[in-house]
């Protein structure tokens, strides 16, 4: 587990910026897209968006491929956590909810 820490740290550092987090959720939501589309409707310049995407690429979170004159950016969902991680997260929340239910029924008589 500890061996995973540096990789996890890189991911968290890359995501620790609101613009980058926004880019990731945009790619999550709308799938692969060009810089032009990613820049659309933001007040961030194309150059800045490119820089952010390159930072995300360094952390292995996105990759780009040429399509004619455009570069298309794609989310590396594997890196972000696969289905198992999603279920782990839901599972952890059930554990927390069960803890609260336990407190509720075992301590409070609460009517």
């Amino acid at each position: 587990m500890a061996a995973l820490a540096p990789a996890a740290a890189a991911v968290f550092a890359a995501l620790g910026d609101p613009t980058r987090l926004h880019l990731v959720s945009q790619l999550c939501r709308d799938g692969p897209q060009s810089i032009a589309r990613l820049t659309d409707g933001t007040d961030v310049s194309r150059q800045a968006v490119t820089k952010h995407l390159e930072a995300l690429a360094d952390a292995g979170l996105v990759r780009s491929a040429r399509d004619g004159r455009e570069r298309i950016w794609t989310l590396q969902t594997k890196r972000l956590g696969d289905a198992r991680r999603y279920l782990d997260d839901i599972s952890a929340r059930w554990d927390e909810a069960i803890d609260r239910l336990r407190q509720f029924v075992e301590r409070d008589r609460g009517d």
Binding site: M1, A2, L4, A5, A8, A9, F12, L15, L21, V24, S25, C28, R29, G31, L75, T77, K78, L80, G81, D82, A83, R84, R85, Y86, L87, D89, I90, S91, A92, R93, W94, D95, E96, A97, I98, D99, R100, L101, R102, Q103, F104, V105, E106, R107, D108, G110, D111
Partner: protein
């Protein structure tokens, strides 16, 4: 992509009589008190209940974590109510990402089943949530990045790594 498990199952023993646990899960007000939501109206089969997130009343520390989500919509549709035995409902699992419309996404089915344990002094609760295979990949990835819960959970994991 690894194979997607469709369900998760949790079984726990609660040191409380079955009747007490049944009320805690089947009375919408009591359910809200521990789960951390405010759901108007009774849990009856077929009822679509639109409520809000409201911090839990049983754990101040958790309540503080839930506080930023207070007032966010929280909806469930009750499927089955079998007194003292089974409550099931459909929902969008822990759906709290701001500004996201979950309506078009598939729901999961949550079943809470009770059984006597320890000669009736305790209650066995089995929670089964199924239907994950239908949840879009983007949602699964977003749970890790964009929403507060998945994010907070992952942060805690990383914190554990770095504080060792």
């Amino acid at each position: 992509m690894s194979e997607i498990p469709d369900r998760l199952v949790k079984t726990v023993t609660l040191r409380a009589p079955r009747e007490r646990v049944w009320r805690a899960i089947s009375d919408s007000r009591q359910f809200g008190a521990w789960f951390g939501c405010d759901l108007p109206g009774p849990f009856t089969a077929g009822a679509h209940i639109v409520g809000t997130i409201a911090p839990t009343q049983v754990d101040p520390e958790v309540a503080t974590m839930q506080e930023p989500h207070r007032g966010k919509p929280f909806e469930i549709t009750i499927e089955r109510v079998e007194p003292m035995t089974r409550l099931s409902f459909r929902w969008h699992p822990f759906a709290i990402e701001p500004g996201h419309d979950y309506a078009s996404e598939p729901t999961t089915l949550v079943e809470l089943v009770l059984a006597d344990a320890d000669g009736g002094a305790a209650t066995e609760l089995t929670i089964t949530e199924s239907g994950f295979a239908g949840i879009p990949l983007a949602r699964r990835a977003a749970a890790f990045t964009a929403n507060a819960g998945g994010w907070a959970h992952q942060c805690r994991l990383v914190q554990r790594y770095v504080e060792r």
